[in-house]
Symmetry: C2
Subunit: 374 residues, 2 copies
């Protein structure tokens, strides 16, 4: 398995940009491959702007909810002492602020900080609940909240974070806040449906799951909140309805591209960057996008894969399983789809923000989440 | 035990109004004891106004969330066929509409229907989650949602109902909707803290739990949403801030009175009306308000009760346990507290709505929830 991991980890899907179909950044004709420095700088400045708002919102919670939330966000240890490290990369707040900046300049960015914090609170509410449902024990290299505080406390802290997110917007005097609140609440409903579809898919026989189903699930579970983040930024910039929708579509498409690539990594690995060992999703018999594409391909490799997925997990079969997904076309399909979704994301972005200079921040973030840059 | 139930069920706590300290309805000097007909009529007309809004909101959910929500509300059976019976009594929406009517007349009532539906959605989100956490298997005489659909689906449907509640308010063009959304979201945070306190109290040794703790828990878990319902009605009537706060305080105090009486019924029974057998809370070793009052009374009966609560449950001890709570003063304390809270509820109500005619609806509902009328 060690050999498999080393070998499989080498060709990263990020290299998809070297494929012939590299239409992704065409609308803007960017000079050469991005290096990720811009994204890193946007994420840094986002955290600098949003963290104080986020911490102050969390500190406004009553004691028990505050303690669980502060642990989950990585602000403190279970015993209440300050923790080093901390919250996630803040991709979603960065999308809010970058969209606001692209469409309304620095003033719009400054006005959208509460909205950015609200999106991050919603994201973290879903993480708390998903970890309970999926029985995941590790999150951001630390034990998940339910393993520390119990299921009930993790569920309640998630509930409180959802309420806190919508409270931030309801109290925000910005003229876009009511529309943003409605959009974010609507997105939560979609996230719930997506997570429901995900848990339901996992209990069904591999052969019964269709590709449109898993694509719809991934869009609801992953694309919806990235799209909502971009749309909120546009709303806070006072952008017209069609630009808000274009930004939503941009974020959704980029989110789906991200999920496709994440699923490729879940099979062929990228352990240095995600902490996820190669083959993890196969070992868990996950019906990820490349796996379902392979299973429904009608190829001989599909039948082999179905037999392997039907049998109890044996780590000696891991390499053969990954090879079956690849031979059935699952890897190529996922990489092609990721490229297509990124191309469509770029089209949407160019429609709302034709100026490549202005669109640069969102473009860098999209490249970052899809691992097209480091 | 049958004999115990019959005997214990007889003296209802509603009879507390015959005690000397019957200051409850004093501010209004109502003529004679209420008969509950007014409350029943308010609840009927509330359901007639709010049900269409509630059903249309639930039907706007995506398929999986809709199905679970429709089952939980009693609109349909697990297989999707229409169900008879249905949702709860709609006390909270009735408080919203009655408060709006009392302070702003029929126009305010008509404008507050979405807010009333939002409060009912929040209430039901908490029921879905509480049932998962408490492992309760029956709700409104039907199997709870998690027993039918599983924990994940029940958690997700609860999440979606919270979002739907705040979505209704965020989309409501009424000038009070943003303030109402903020107030409701804030209330959700308090409900979460209350439920957390409740689950945490149940894992602690009976002797360690204090009376102020359980009172604070009951106020957060039960009083907060009743208070919020009344406050939302006042907001939608365009009432000044001090009246909104007085209505909140009225609902909170009435909610606490309700909880005290519900806890008395959980020990001495009222099986015909609640479906809850006498002694249920004692059998479950629940640290309800009368039990904690008894345990912390410093009486010889408190020591006896502590010993009984420390031992594994034996149904032959049920009558002795109830008697120990009574001898330690738990029943008298709870009934006295319920009277005091009702008196304070009436004071708050009279402050905001001095006209007994206008306050009549809220008064009837308060009497109804505290079983002061049938």
């Amino acid at each position: 398995m060690a050999e498999f991991m080393t070998r499989a980890a080498a060709p990263r899907v990020g290299d998809a940009r070297e494929r012939p179909s590299t239409i992704a950044t065409q609308p803007y004709e960017r000079p050469g491959p991005p290096d990720g420095a811009e994204a890193a700088s946007i994420l840094d400045s986002t955290r600098a702007s949003v963290d104080p708002e986020l911490r102050s919102a969390i500190d406004s919670l009553p004691p028990a909810m505050r303690r669980i939330a502060r642990y989950h966000f990585g602000f403190e240890n279970p015993d209440g002492t300050p923790a080093v490290g901390g919250a996630g990369k803040a991709i979603r707040p960065a999308l809010v602020l970058s969209a606001a900046t692209a469409l309304g300049g620095p003033a719009a960015r400054a006005g959208a900080v509460k909205a950015a914090a609200a999106v991050e609170l919603v994201h973290n509410f879903t993480l708390l609940h998903d970890d309970v449902m999926d029985r995941d024990t590790t999150r951001r290299h630390r034990p998940t909240a339910w393993t520390v505080f119990g299921d009930a406390d993790a569920i309640l802290a998630g509930d409180a974070l959802q309420a806190l997110a919508l409270l931030l917007l309801a109290r925000d005097p910005h003229p876009a806040s009511a529309q943003a609140g409605a959009r974010l609440a609507s997105c939560v409903v979609e996230l719930c449906e997506g997570q429901q579809a995900d848990t339901a898919l996992e209990t069904r026989a591999a052969g019964e799951v269709t590709l449109p189903e898993v694509l719809a699930m991934a869009e609801a579970k992953t694309g919806a909140l990235l799209g909502c983040a971009c749309a909120l930024g546009a709303l806070y910039a006072g952008a017209p309805e069609e630009d808000v929708e274009a930004l939503d579509a941009f974020g959704r498409a980029a989110g789906l591209a991200f999920q496709l690539i994440d699923d490729v990594i879940g099979i062929w690995g990228d352990p240095g960057r995600t902490g996820k060992p190669a083959g993890a999703d196969l070992a868990a018999r996950k019906k990820s996008l490349p796996v379902v594409a392979a299973l429904t391909s009608g190829t001989p490799a599909a039948a082999e894969l179905a037999a392997l997925y039907g049998a109890p997990y044996d780590h000696r079969d891991l390499e053969r399983t990954a090879l079956a997904v690849e031979r059935a076309g699952g890897r190529d399909w996922a990489q092609g789809q990721a490229s297509d979704r990124m191309a469509s994301a770029m089209d949407e972005l160019a429609r709302a923000i034709p100026d490549p200079e202005a669109a640069g921040g969102l473009l860098s973030l999209a490249e970052f989440v899809t691992r097209r840059s480091t």
